[in-house]
Amino acid sequence: MRKGSPVAEARLALEDGTVFLGEAFGAPGETVGEVIFNTSMTGYQEILTDPSYKGQIVAMTYPLIGNTGVNREDAESARPQAEAFVVRDLSPIPSNWRQEEGLPEWLARHRGVGIQGVDTRRLTGLLREKGFLKGVVSSAELDPKRLVEKARAWEGLSGRDWVAQVTCAAPHPGPAPKQKRFKVAAIDCGMKANIGRLLADSGCETTIYPASTAAATILKEKPDGLFVSNGPGDPEAVPYVIETVRNCLGKLPIFGICLGHQIVGLALGGRTFKLKFGHHGGNHPVLDLKTNQVEITAQNHGFAVDPDSLPADAVEVTHLNLNDRTCEGLRHKKWPLFSVQYHPEAAPGPHDAGHLFDRFVRMMETGEAP
């Protein structure tokens, strides 16, 4: 929507029958998805470009969005990934020395759909009470009833392979390290750009593989370690990735983040389950059970590993979410393997857990369990 053009109406309709009225921004159109709220006060650009949000309509609990525009450095992927973006107040101008473009202009350019003027606190309370809801954002159709029907008709997020939509097409090198110390194979389930940067900063020369890559292909290249990335949706819906990881167990040092952590859990024989409304934000306290240190972490997941399902003799829960006591990390007692549910690469979020990349490197150095 250009400046000066009349304001286009838009709607956010939920499967429970609630319809929020608002104004469209970005591109006109209509999208369905699972509605979630994110409690980060900054980092909307990183959130919008995080491939993990594929299939989801993201509502920001912080009401003032767009204040700093967008810039190339802060993109986690090349385009907006969330199905739609829901905000209370869209900033009329960006103001920051690094901004290159306004959020609505950028979103429109990438055909992204946005709605502003929504009471996102009310929406959040509703999601907290009812759990994930299917929803539709539209500036094309404004009739509440028809929109609610569309939301209900959508088949939902769970059980579907969203990774296939965001993974890379072919193996390619990640950002080059200044000093190459290790060779890492990264399975791209929708990997955030900052992970590649931090691996490079830790001296890893990374090859990024499509999610469908078989273990044999990876092992053939003799990497020093395997990284399993974050990504969207239900981990059980990507059995092929679980298979690849299972086939690398004990053969390579393994580090998993978020969806990668869930996949590692499943490969180790555990189960995953869907949380009521998930963790999406930058303020989640995680306790490292070994060091008694609390890290404030960035999180973005709807599924979690059931710690009781893991083989207790071989696998240990290492991190706990202090808000709801869910499993935030695990390690293998013998093999060089660990994974975390949260995002040590932050972007957006605090940098408290950045040292986990060093832990991965140490594992590759020693070949020992973390």
Partner: protein, 1095 residues
């Protein structure tokens, strides 16, 4: 990990009297800390000289010492109490400085007291600018280039090396006292010299100026396992160059990306660790170059601060409480988040609203002061407002300020500056700048131009521009019948009053129209978590959200207010709004007591206030807290939502009183003394009739609507007369005039003050003794809480006068007369609750000066002295109980003396004359307690941080009328061995009574004169009473110089006499300390002879 068991008794030091840069936020912090530590089973020993604090209520500590905050007094307390530990980080800069002194003098070591929270070396590293800078550079952080200087020569050399513009910051002073910036040698020299003089350690930092850069603050907490969390990020709307206490600030940060904010967070954690704050909260300030993003660390406070109080209120995270628990060994994740109860305190609050803090200045009280805002703080209070966007929060904040504004302009009160003046208002930071920005935008100046002039970030300017654009839209659509426009206006924070102005209709008409269209606010919760978790603490703000529609389903109910509480059990207490001179912590104290009292009586309490510094706005105080402006509209909205059975307006000072009549007219159930009776006491005509009917006496007076009337009345009464507008608090615009010229000058200025109300003219009673009486009544009987005799003569504002409880010079007969008059007035005005009466005693005659059927400034002081919580009782009386039922039916005699002394901000306002008058100018108060008047008075003086010299040189120069008294004082000082220096006339009088005084010349007699003498010699005390207009200028120079040199300066002869008595007592016996609990025990169980005052 468990809490520490090796310490049992902890000493907490409060921050003393309210001064600029140190207000009631430290009562809020200290009260939280006391509660937190006692909750964990520790014994708390508290010292604070300020009686108007909740923390000094006897139930908040095991032992409460209302004693001077000096190493000497605290050592005496340590000797008596033998605490294991000292927690120095909760009493502001005062607490921190005195703790450092105690450490430096070896007192802590000598008595085996451990400093917890932050150790002396840590504090020193954070406070000592050179060490701080080194620590930052060693930790790899960027800081402005700077050098430390201890002499003026060193300062000049440093300035040459760094180059202008420069900032000069003195070490170890409060709120940047004495600091400033300079871009030329003349300014530099002046500021550097002043800074060196004011710094306790004669040290200033000469620094690269980052004026105009973006300014940010982070509030952090750290536990002993090195876990760090950021509680709140704050961005200053006013860029670097204006003290953060004088800046409009916003939480959270608005114009940084996540990458930049996280980088700042990393730096802040590095600072915490590099400085080595073991546990607790710290505030770290950054400047960011808006062009390049270069980020430099400016400073840190290794303690709770004004900003941390703001951060606590802005987020719901109780920093001081958690800091206290961390200090005794808890870890962050072992403590629960009070608001959710289910999640831990180890997290970072997330906001789903925008918070704006706006400072409240009091330049109207100091017309001679420099109104420019600089790096030295000048505001006396602040408001906080919460909205769902910046525009809403800003406008709510502006209408909370109690400056008569209804928002950002559009209220018919815009001053309309001329073009040049407007540019000046934009360029030089000042109290009106936000309104100047509006005018500039209204007049079509571009945001780019305004940014160029103000350096305020374009994002904020665009937000303000949106408000201005909405103002135009609203004006163009009067009485819009579609709700959309009203929703939009409301979402930008427009008040009904503003809309009424734009539409040309009364505020209440707008309200009616708005409600008819269904445009009403929702009340959202401050819950630390943006609704992610259920919150149990009802802490609300209002905002405007259009409800969603629901089709084919059940939808969601939205937030509900206090489900389950029957309205009959709900009582609403209206707070006092921002602190300003004349309305401070005392009223908040009363409101908090009302909450405590009513809770105890089984009521659900609802607090409404806009002041983030207070205990009343702690979510832990009332059952439900509304952080809202105290305007008719906002209060009525809350009443609509809550439907309380009663609304209390008489405890929060003038702010809620001003609403009383309108609230009542709108159907609000006001309880306590009826608004009509309050009005009768304020209305001079009705009041005169009442006085006559009761057979009492008041100074002859009249009411003038015009200048001619005023002159005629004054002629009839004969000069001097006291003139003032009706309806004022804190003696706003009150003056004693001695002739017609003075009266006319006053009238010319006064019409601006209160156009709706006439001017009152009273015969001024010269040399009368003033007496304040606080009493409580229930409609059946009235009981005197306390009778306070002023030390200074009548005419000095009661808020500024020193006072003595019980009266020490009045005869029993006079006292009984006063008591009877008080009771009669209470009965006549059907007082339910508190009432304050001011009397003047001249000879044997008792005059009634003023009656205020409401809580007064002296309620906390009186309550502390007599050991009876008067405000608590008053609230219960208002809710229907009787004094008999409450067991308070007799005046409490005390066998000791309590002295109240006032504290003034003169050192902030260089060049302002310090003489006392009918216009109140003090910011705070202290209490001195002892069996004898002399020691109690001396303690009160020490507690105001003014040195009480026991020997040395006194400069004594008084007006003619005071000369006989000065002779007596001179003789007493001489007897104690003081060297006395006087100007001609006073020296002559002294000589006649056999005191040899050294004579110095008056200023007009030429050099070397008194100023040279004061400048060059060591003078320990100045006694200088003002003679009148002719010599005022010279005298003012003497007094200003004394203030700037830190020499105690007494400006009334009565004050000088009392101080002389104090010095005599101190020399004879020194002073002892005693806890409030012990004094109160004695009040309850008087022991024979001890009941008598010893001297």
């Amino acid at each position: 990990m468990p809490k520490r068991t090796d310490i049992k008794k902890i000493l907490i030091i409060g921050s003393g009297p309210i001064i600029i840069s140190q207000a009631c936020e430290f009562d809020y912090s200290g009260t939280q800390a006391c509660k937190a530590l006692r909750e964990e089973g520790y014994q708390v020993v508290l010292v604070n000289s300020n009686p108007a604090t909740i923390m000094t209520d006897p139930e908040f500590a095991d032992r409460t010492y209302i004693e001077p905050i000096t190493p000497e007094a605290i050592e005496k307390i340590i000797v008596r109490e033998r605490p294991d530990a000292l927690l120095p980080t909760l009493g502001g800069q005062t607490g921190l400085n005195v703790a450092m002194e105690l450490a430096r003098l070896g007192i802590l070591e000598r008595h085996g007291v451990e400093m917890i929270g932050a150790r002396a070396d840590t504090i020193d590293r954070a406070e000592n600018r050179q060490r701080f800078k080194e620590a930052m550079l060693n930790a790899g952080l960027d800081v402005p280039r700077s050098e430390v200087a201890h002499t003026i020569e060193e300062a000049h050399a440093a300035a040459k090396r760094i180059g202008f513009p420069l900032v000069i910051r003195p070490a170890f002073t409060l709120g940047g006292t004495g600091g400033g910036s300079a871009d030329n040698w003349e300014d530099f020299d002046r500021i550097a010299r002043l800074g060196l003089a004011l710094s306790v350690v004669s040290e200033v930092l000469i620094e690269e100026s980052v004026e105009g850069w973006k300014e940010f603050e982070l509030e952090l907490m750290r536990d002993r396992e090195n876990n760090c969390v950021v509680i709140c990020s704050i961005e200053n709307v006013d860029p670097m160059g204006v003290h953060t206490g004088d800046s409009i600030t916003v939480a959270p940060v608005q114009t940084l990306t996540d990458r930049e904010l996280q980088g700042m967070r990393d730096d802040a954690i590095t600072v915490m660790r590099a400085i080595g704050v073991e546990t607790g909260g710290s505030n770290i300030q950054f400047a960011v170059d808006p062009a390049t993003g270069r980020r430099v660390v400016i400073e840190m406070n290794p303690r709770v601060s004004r900003s941390s109080a703001l951060a606590s209120k802005a987020t719901g995270f109780p920093i001081a409480k958690i800091a206290a628990k961390l200090a005794v060994g808890f870890l962050l994740h072992e403590l629960p988040n009070d608001i959710t109860r289910k999640t831990p305190a180890a997290f970072e609050p997330t906001l789903d609203y925008c918070v704006v803090k706006i400072p409240r200045w009091a330049f109207e009280k100091f017309p001679d002061a420099d109104p420019r805002l600089t790096i030295q703080m000048k505001s006396v209070g602040e408001v906080m407002a919460i909205g769902r966007n910046f525009k809403e929060a800003l406008q709510k904040g502006l209408r909370s300020l109690e400056i008569g504004r209804a928002g950002l302009g559009a209220d018919g009160k815009d001053p309309l500056w001329e073009a040049e003046a407007l540019t000046q208002k934009l360029r030089v930071p000042n109290a009106d700048r936000i309104f100047a920005i509006r005018q500039a935008l209204v007049e079509g100046r571009s945001e780019a131009e305004i940014h160029e002039i103000t350096r305020i970030d374009p994002w904020f300017l665009r937000e303000i521009a949106q408000i201005v654009a909405m103002e135009k839209t609203l004006r163009a659509h009067p009485r819009a019948s579609e709700p959309e426009l009203l929703w939009k206006g409301k979402r930008m924070g427009f008040s009904d009053r503003q809309i009424g102005f734009l539409w040309g209709m009364p505020e209440l008409e707008v309200r009616k129209h708005r409600l008819a269209l269904g445009v009403r606010p929702v009340f959202y919760m401050v819950d630390t978590c943006a609704a992610e978790f259920e919150a149990v603490t009802p802490y609300y703000y209002s905002t405007y959200e259009q409800p969603p529609v629901t089709v084919m389903g059940h939808g969601h109910q939205g937030a509900r207010i206090n489900p389950g509480t029957p309205p009959s059990k709900k009582i609403m207490i209206l707070g006092g709004g921002p602190n300003r001179i004349g309305q401070g912590i005392e009223f908040d104290y009363c409101c908090v007591h009302a909450v405590f009292g009513l809770k105890a009586a089984g009521f659900k309490t609802i607090m409404v206030n806009s002041n983030p510094e207070t205990v009343s706005t702690d979510y832990d105080t009332a059952d439900t807290l509304y952080f809202e402006p105290l305007t008719l509209e906002d209060v009525l909205n809350i009443i609509d939502a809550e439907r309380p059975a009663g609304v209390i307006v008489q405890l929060g000072g003038q702010t809620p009183l001003n609403l009383a009549l309108a609230l009542e007219a709108a159907g609000a159930p006001i309880i306590g003394t009826a608004p009509a009776q309050i009005d009768a006491a304020e209305d001079r005509k009705k009041f005169s009739a009442l006085i006559e009917r009761l057979g009492l006496r008041q100074p002859p007076n009249g009411t003038a609507m015009t200048v001619e009337e005023a002159v005629a009345i004054a002629d009839r009464l004969t000069y001097p007369v006291l003139v003032r507008p009706s309806y004022v608090l804190g003696g706003r615009a009150m003056e004693i005039v001695y002739d017609e010229t003075g009266l006319k000058a006053y009238m010319a200025a006064a019409t601006l003050v209160s156009p709706e109300h006439p001017i009152l003219v009273d015969k001024f009673l010269e040399d009368a003794i003033e007496v304040d009486v606080d009493l409580i009544a229930d409609g059946k009987q009235a009981v005197v809480g306390g009778m306070l005799e002023h030390v200074e003569q009548a005419g000095v504002h009661s808020g500024d006068a020193a006072m003595v409880l019980p009266p020490h010079t009045l005869s029993p007969e006079i006292i009984e007369n006063i008591r009877q008059a008080g009771r009669a007035l209470a009965a006549a005005l059907e007082v339910r609750g508190l009432m304050n009466i001011q009397f003047a005693v001249k000879g044997k005659q008792v005059f009634v000066l003023e009656v205020n059927p409401r809580a007064s400034r002296t309620i906390p002081f009186v309550s502390k002295a007599i050991g009876v919580p008067l405000a608590k009782l008053a609230a219960r009386v208002m809710a229907g109980e009787t004094l008999e039922g409450l067991g308070f039916t007799r005046e409490v005699p005390i066998g000791f003396t309590a002295v109240k002394e006032s504290v003034f901000p003169f050192s902030r306002f260089f060049g302002v004359d310090i003489i006392l008058g009918p216009e109140m100018r003090s910011t705070g108060e202290v209490m001195g307690l002892d069996r004898s008047f002399g020691i109690a008075f001396a303690k009160s003086q020490i507690a105001t941080y003014s040195q009480v010299p026991l020997s040395g040189t006194v400069f004594l120069s008084v007006k003619d009328a005071d000369k006989p008294a000065a002779a007596e004082i001179g003789r007493r000082l001489d007897r104690m061995g003081f060297k006395i220096v006087s100007t001609g006339g006073t020296a002559e009088v002294l000589r006649q009574v056999g005191v040899e005084a050294q004579t110095v010349r008056k200023i007009h007699e030429g050099h070397p004169h008194v100023l040279d003498f004061l400048q060059e010699s060591k003078v320990d005390l100045v006694i200088n009473t003002p003679a009148g207009k002719a010599t005022k200028r010279d005298e003012q120079k003497i007094r200003s110089l004394a203030v700037s040199k830190g020499i105690p300066c007494v400006t009334t002869i009565q004050g000088a006499r009392a101080l002389t008595t104090g010095i005599e007592s101190l020399r004879a016996s020194g002073f002892e300390v005693r806890s409030l609990q012990e004094w109160h025990e004695e009040v309850r169980r008087p022991k024979g002879k001890e009941k008598l005052i010893s001297k």
